[in-house]
Symmetry: C2
Subunit: 318 residues, 2 copies
Amino acid sequence: MGAGGRAGGIVALAGGVGAARFLDGLSRLIDPARLTVVVNTGDDAEIHGLPVSPDLDTVVYTMAGLADPSRGWGRRGDTFRCLESLGTLGGETWFQLGDGDLATHLYRGDRLRQGASLSQVTGEIATALGVRARILPMSDQRVRTRVRTGRGELDFQTYFARRRAQDSVSGVRFSGLRRARPATGVIEAIERAGAVVVCPSNPIISIGPILAVPGIRRALGKTRARIAAVSPIVGGRAVKGPAARMMRSLGLRVSALGVAELYRDFLDLFVLDRVDRRQAAGIERLGMRAVVADTMMTDRRKKIALARTVLEALEAPR
Amino acid sequence: MGAGGRAGGIVALAGGVGAARFLDGLSRLIDPARLTVVVNTGDDAEIHGLPVSPDLDTVVYTMAGLADPSRGWGRRGDTFRCLESLGTLGGETWFQLGDGDLATHLYRGDRLRQGASLSQVTGEIATALGVRARILPMSDQRVRTRVRTGRGELDFQTYFARRRAQDSVSGVRFSGLRRARPATGVIEAIERAGAVVVCPSNPIISIGPILAVPGIRRALGKTRARIAAVSPIVGGRAVKGPAARMMRSLGLRVSALGVAELYRDFLDLFVLDRVDRRQAAGIERLGMRAVVADTMMTDRRKKIALARTVLEALEAPR
């Protein structure tokens, strides 16, 4: 595989757990070696000085079959002895770190200090864990999501993990964009892709940062690949996480249609849940095809069925 | 307790496991609140970016009743899930870090980044773990033991943990001494002590760095407290670790007498093992009293008995 990406492959834009579930289904239908996943790093953080990349790890762990199926973060069956001992010492324990998960952050920290890029390290971790898809951070430069709340501007993990997304959000910005470039291979993968899928992730804080990295949104607008998105909003609610509340407080429509509007400049088709089928006409008026499906990935069968629907829609004659 | 130390208290100079065993016995005979332990930090290291202080931790864990009794490092019953996962990722695993032990290093790192001194952090850890003795690093500045070997100069943990002390040693130096000062309270504790004990630790790389911190050796020479040392060399061998080999390759006499010579400028009495009793006369010719005892601390009873012998000798009329 060259740096130019896999011609005719599939590129997925991904946040955390919703994306990971979708990709888990997708990679059972296609050869994972054809898949390039571009992952949000806006909610990366330094926790106890360690570089933590929650979305990268959720995607890698899930595709490696190591993810905890219920929590949506960390490793299945992990222990928390370090965190418990840290609590005994009076240390900060609001960011959950399993003992096995910690190794990923120690390894990443070691390699970054040695001068490796985040892409390189991510590739090493994915390979070591048996993941055949190419997992890329959106950027090797540091971009950080910052959330404007009633308590002032918070870094993402303070807002999300420490304060459990309880604050009302009046704005979101991504610091570091000026120096950020797409990670090596991201633009090439989009240009050469057979299809692109925007995974069912929070459009503001998961897909938003990826689209904000200079060059990525333009590449999506220019690529000849068809681009589909799967709605993370079902029945006016986020399947997981604070997406609905965030969209509402930012004055956005909290609906499948509202998400489709955010991507209208580059989407060819939009997959929405059956419960939202009445929004299909409005979505098609945005200039894209609307595909109604069961998007609730509550088990493996449903994950695969959703991935199949998306693939078939992408391959259907225009 | 003021910064000036406990008048009439006992000050111990300590390295790792030998010292910790002795202190464990001592603190069953005297109120631990009377004890100030000044600990070597020359073999501190950054492991995966975390500040690790092996001797401080061995002393604290031992006095907290948490130490692993056989290994001499780490915590009893600790798990190694993080280290195992790190191995899976291809990371470096030569420095053994238990999951619970890791918490100490994460906590120390957090607090040092927040601007706390190593003394402060050590006090916090000791207090959180229920240790009543005052545990002080020899210095809050960074002093690092470097070992000259056939493979060039190695930092201490590379020599000791990574290469398992297999290289022949032609020299030892302590970097950072120029900027190092004794940690707050060290000099005052020595000046005001009722007695000082040099624990049975490696004279070159455990006690050596402490004595090399500017001001400490002079304070030992000036204090009115009586000063005793317990020999870490028994029958021409180190009870534990590379002391004998190091002393030999540095051209020193590998014997109780050889150790006594290294401390002759400040010692009042020297405790040597029964098997070395014939060296007592030579030691007394150095100008100190020689006390013969069973120094092999193979169980709790023998630890306490040795501590009692040392205390009684320190209190005996001159």
